[in-house]
């Protein structure tokens, strides 16, 4: 299965105790002081894409030997850090989880002297992690129910008079509050400002409460919301753009819009106590370059974090226009505020769960 997107982490992260399977790689070269890094990611088609687009070409170019592993998320990092036995040099993570893990002291700050992020969208990096790919949380609708003139904004998503039909909405707080505020009339650039008080969060929750009778499903994974659209089980849902692309290619009668979507990213971080910290920094600098980033859309419909990737001609124009980080699409969207998640996610999550279980 593909990749489960979230701001904070992956839904499957907590379920499985990660199998620490050794992926391909190893120390092949005879060079005495060969540099090496161990990278942990989530496995599956997502890690395959990362490996083919980023890790393998970079390994070839730099001579840094890459060992790939799979892991279960930041909770695993925490265990290793606490035990003082860190074996990973780089971990792939959702941006929100990385932010909180960084705040907790589980991650090394990144050295942006080494990693060149001058061509990154400014929101796609932070102290403890650097963006690896970009995706959007969008609203999608059933084109059989609404025709091509589907909802154009979150206000439309909430408008059950104009767009009667069943909704699906995320069962977790990440990416759930921002659309509600926008639907309630808060301008895009004020969303996080409003959310930064308990009243603001309550306001968003009340807006969702309004829609609750029409929410047939609280989805919990990307596979699920794609399937819901494909089966026509609901008429409208929030979700991750890449999933909908796959479903549409698969014949789903669905469409989505980047308007007012939430622009988010996955990132790479270096855990505290990484055995090859400096090499890891170099390796991150390498895979952040546009030529690697431009490989990504070949394997997965998520966008590069480096704007230059669109300019070096590696990505088809038709493909590029559909990517979340394409400048034309990016400007329609609200970049996710990772700091807000670091500060408020746990509190907001508790309130959100109260709402869902009401």
């Amino acid at each position: 299965m593909g990749k489960d997107k979230s701001f904070s982490s992956r839904s499957r992260a907590g379920i499985a105790v990660a199998a620490m399977a050794l992926a391909a790689g190893g120390f092949v070269s005879g060079a005495t002081a060969q540099e090496k890094v161990t990278i942990a990611s989530w496995g599956g088609s997502y890690q395959d894409a990362q490996s083919k687009a980023l890790f393998q070409p970079a390994e070839k170019a730099t001579g840094i030997a890459v060992t790939e592993e799979t892991y279960g998320g930041m909770s695993d990092v925490r265990l290793k850090v606490k035990a003082g036995a860190m074996t990973w040099d780089i971990v792939a993570s959702g941006s929100g989880s990385a932010a909180r893990a960084g705040a907790e002291g589980l991650l090394e700050p990144l050295d942006y002297e080494v990693i060149d992020v001058s061509n990154f969208y400014p929101t796609l990096k932070m102290k403890y992690c650097v963006g690896g790919d970009v995706f959007s949380t969008v609203f999608a609708w059933n084109t059989e129910t609404y025709g091509e003139n589907g909802p154009q904004s979150w206000a439309d998503f909430w408008d059950v008079e104009k767009f009667p039909g069943k909704r699906a909405y995320r069962g977790k707080v990440a990416g759930a509050l921002e659309p509600a505020l926008m639907a309630d009339g808060v301008p895009m650039d004020k969303v996080y400002e409003v959310l930064s008080t308990e009243e603001g969060i309550e306001r968003a929750l009340n807006k969702i409460r309004e829609l609750k009778p029409h929410i047939a499903v609280w989805w919990s994974s990307g596979a699920q919301h794609a399937q819901l659209m494909k089966d026509g089980e609901v008429d409208m849902t929030t979700g991750w753009n890449g999933r909908f692309d796959v479903a549409i290619n698969d014949g789903a009668k669905a469409a989505y819009s980047f308007n007012q979507a939430l622009l988010d990213y996955d990132c790479f971080a270096i855990p505290k106590g990484a055995p090859n910290k400096d090499t890891a920094m170099k390796f991150l600098a390498e895979i952040s370059k546009a030529e690697y980033q431009a490989n990504l859309p070949k394997y997965i419909t998520y966008g590069p974090t480096n704007k230059l990737a669109y300019e070096i001609g590696k990505i088809d124009k038709a493909v590029a226009e559909k990517l979340p980080s394409h400048p034309d699409n990016a400007k329609l969207q609200l970049p996710v505020d990772i700091e807000w998640y670091g500060k408020f996610e746990q509190k907001a999550s508790a309130m959100y769960q109260d709402l869902v279980t009401e």
Binding site: S9, R100, K166, V217, E233, Q346, Q353, V356, T357
Partner: protein, 304 residues
């Protein structure tokens, strides 16, 4: 040896081989014990240690120090109480429905000739051979808005609008009952088969109508199986994840799902462990009360 012990030891020495026989008995016990020690060790490793670890973790905060915050959170946030109630409700309902469907089915099977019954049993067990995920998704395909059940129902004219069969409690229960049913039927069938038909003859002979014979003799004798089956189903339900997650549409939230969410949210096993501990304690408490009320130790303790 002290002087005080001398008289007894000398008198015991008077019996030939007494010391030696005693030592043999001790040795034999030791050998027997060492024979089970791998099993005991295994139990220790796979049962006791993890549960102990779970307890320990649940008292650790994000900073790794002792704290009650993981438990405090459960008291403060309303959703936890609801999720626990939900978990027990769903488990109880599933168990109840399993009993209502499974008991008569097991009874029917137990009355068939053995060979026919065995054949039928294979159909009961068939679902065991399919993956849980596949079965769960199969129900999704059947029950959803444009699923087979709704389409047929509307084709035949049983109902006009699609009825909500899934992404709610109904769907969850259907899926869970389907998966749990064999766990109930097997022990119940087993205990029914073990009931000597002479008991029923005796009851009839003593004046019991078939109904009376069933309720006063057959049913109580099948209780150990029913109890074992219900217990298995109930306890398995408490930890269920996949089926409610897929068929519940996010509206049926069980403790196991919240455990997964909490691990993601807090990167902290402690927050999740506390949930596990509370679930474990509540379950044990409920079983304790149930065993008092139903006195199943007496039913189960009856041996021949």
């Amino acid at each position: 040896m002290s002087d005080l012990a001398l008289p007894t030891s000398s008198s015991s020495l008077a019996h030939s081989n007494q010391q030696e026989l005693k030592r043999d008995a001790r040795q034999e016990r030791f050998v027997l014990f060492s024979l089970c020690s791998p099993a005991l060790l295994l139990v220790l490793i796979i049962m006791v240690l993890p549960v102990g670890w779970l307890f320990w973790l649940s008292f650790l905060g994000e900073d790794g120090n002792f704290t009650l915050e993981n438990y405090q959170r459960m008291v403060e946030s309303k959703s936890y109480a609801r999720i626990f109630r939900n978990t027990f409700e769903v488990s109880l309902l599933t168990t109840a429905i399993c009993i209502l469907i499974g008991y008569p089915l097991a009874y029917f099977l137990s009355q068939l000739p053995r060979r026919t019954a065995n054949l039928c049993m294979i159909t009961v067990l068939l679902p065991f051979w399919t993956s849980l995920l596949v079965r769960t998704y199969a129900w999704l395909v059947l029950l959803q808005r444009r699923g087979l059940v709704n389409e047929w129902g509307m084709d035949i004219g049983l109902w006009d609008e699609p009825i909500k069969l899934v992404h709610n409690l109904t769907g969850t229960l259907i899926g869970m009952v389907h998966i749990m049913l064999p766990f109930l039927i097997l022990p119940v069938y087993g205990s029914m088969r073990a009931i000597d038909r002479d008991y029923l003859k005796a009851a009839a002979n003593l004046g019991a109508s078939p109904t009376q014979a069933f309720w006063r003799v057959f049913f109580p004798l099948s209780l150990p199986g029913l109890f074992a089956g219900s217990l298995i189903v109930f306890v398995l339900c408490l930890g269920f994840f996949v089926t409610p997650a897929v068929l519940g549409g996010g509206k049926v939230i069980m403790v196991s799902m919240r455990i997964a969410t909490n691990i993601e949210l807090f990167f902290n096993w402690g927050a999740a462990s506390a949930l596990g501990v509370v679930l474990l304690v509540l379950t044990l408490a409920i079983l304790g009360v149930a065993s008092r009320v139903l006195r199943f130790d007496q039913i189960l303790g009856r041996g021949h």
